[in-house]
Symmetry: C3
Amino acid sequence: MIHPSAIVSPKAKLGANVKIGPFSIVHDNVDIGDNTVIESHCEIGYPSALAGDRPLVIGANTLIRSHSIFYAGSTFGERLMTGHRVTVREGTVAGVNLQLGTLCDLQGDCTIGDYVRFHSNVHIGKMSKVGNFVWIFPYVVLTNDPHPPSSVLQGCEIGDFAAVATMTVVLPGVKVGAHSLVAAHSMVGKDVAPSTVVGGAPAKYLCDTVKIKLKDGTDRPAYPWTTHFRRGYPDSVTAGWDAPAE
Amino acid sequence: MIHPSAIVSPKAKLGANVKIGPFSIVHDNVDIGDNTVIESHCEIGYPSALAGDRPLVIGANTLIRSHSIFYAGSTFGERLMTGHRVTVREGTVAGVNLQLGTLCDLQGDCTIGDYVRFHSNVHIGKMSKVGNFVWIFPYVVLTNDPHPPSSVLQGCEIGDFAAVATMTVVLPGVKVGAHSLVAAHSMVGKDVAPSTVVGGAPAKYLCDTVKIKLKDGTDRPAYPWTTHFRRGYPDSVTAGWDAPAE
Amino acid sequence: MIHPSAIVSPKAKLGANVKIGPFSIVHDNVDIGDNTVIESHCEIGYPSALAGDRPLVIGANTLIRSHSIFYAGSTFGERLMTGHRVTVREGTVAGVNLQLGTLCDLQGDCTIGDYVRFHSNVHIGKMSKVGNFVWIFPYVVLTNDPHPPSSVLQGCEIGDFAAVATMTVVLPGVKVGAHSLVAAHSMVGKDVAPSTVVGGAPAKYLCDTVKIKLKDGTDRPAYPWTTHFRRGYPDSVTAGWDAPAE
């Protein structure tokens, strides 16, 4: 299951049925769960001073696609799934079934809930707190430094089920409320109320999310999105979600 | 022509004089044209459920630079040229002499015309339709979901010879007209008329493209850009373009 | 010190104690200083027509992290330090102790001073001139073409100690003054006066930098940032900086 060209430390802890692809490197301080696949050209458990003795812990049934780099010192629940060329630094603590798109860049020292989806090329600054079932789209940046450069770090908070659309910056310390939507190309400088839509630079209140209509011909509300979008979530989770409005 | 460290499936169809660089992987379902160069650390024909049985077809005389990843299920005309770390997913159908800059991310299920140039780090959402001779600059995103997350996909259309400048988002379903220019850092929420300049967030009409003067000391019109910029196009194509204004 | 899987040209000039990681490639025309570490999956001295005979010169005590690509034809002072997947093209001339974050994309033909820090995913267009002690944050683009596509290149200039915050575009030919701050998500279309804060799209004067208070409980000025932030600079340099206001 380990490709002959891969370089795997004898100190690495690999669960049952773990596969390691060609030209990948697995360092000492890692603990990889059963049935996990690490594809080609990856570097797993990259050692660093900031990680110290903390291992990289990856839950079972994970898929890490090619060219990805994970530092030591982070923890992921089961069923992590990544795109290609993901970078994850020290101190990231994530729940189950996180999806990280191609080119995502997690700076570490952050917490991420369960069933979160980051699309391609999302940048998560240190000290960010991301809730459960959150969606973040390409080229979104969660910042942390109110007056760069400095050593003052104020992480953002993204509430459960919130969606942050592409090319948006969330300023340091801002809280994006649960079930809210931040429109594309926004600069969010103050807290976003739950179940509201904001947009612009600086982002302003546009409407309540319930006002957005689903463009599938039915004209029913598009939010909460859990009423119509369930792809990729297990039935055990979506069973508790609202049925679509009739 | 195949580096000894490369891993090439015996099922892959390679044309005459194809070169495969060190540490690259070529999967089963690919058909690569004559005289094509695949550099180092690439992954070509990445298999996926979405690709199904569709092969990756790459035209002759192509150059794929190092660290690039192409999924199965896409088709490219002759003389494709890429930068490094390009990602191309299933269902991309492109014409001849496409240029993809470093870090471009094509999500698949899109069509791209002939002689298109994407600069670095362009993100093309599914269902996009890109015409011929289009230019798209770094960190531009062509979106597709009018109320993310959902399963409703409304692709953008970019007309022939249009140029979309850096850090611009084009919203779902928007049509950018032929020979138009979208200014940098714009958010395009409605259709752009042909041969006009739009900019801002939301993008508004600024002027007709003919009003932009070329800053080369001549003060002649900068658009249509075909009157002054021909680098990288074959003479057989540019012979039909307008001569510069006297 | 050279991993057996690495491919290193016998023509490459390597200083004392240079380390080359697994699956990395070092081409002919490079001159690498003493004690430098090139990690895994890198490509160093990529040959190109634009580089011509110019070598890639990397100063001593450098760290190039994994998956990075440096073209021939550039020069770096001592103690260069990069993140992962950096791309640097021909004609880049940089001073000492440059830091390039993960995914930075330097297009070449640019000059960069001493002790400059680029965070992740910074895009530096050709003809840019970056001063000393500059900070540039993620997804910033320094542009150069006033009417794309064209062959007219007007590089930006970023003054000493300036900070350009995330997701900002600097338009061609614009000069950002010394000790200034460009706020996040800005589009800078005209010159920025020294020691001022600008923001927005288009960016406008917001205040003098001295008006920004440091959010560390002291309420002292956050700028010049040299009064409170010295991490990563040698004592020999910071000894000359202002002490914090009492």
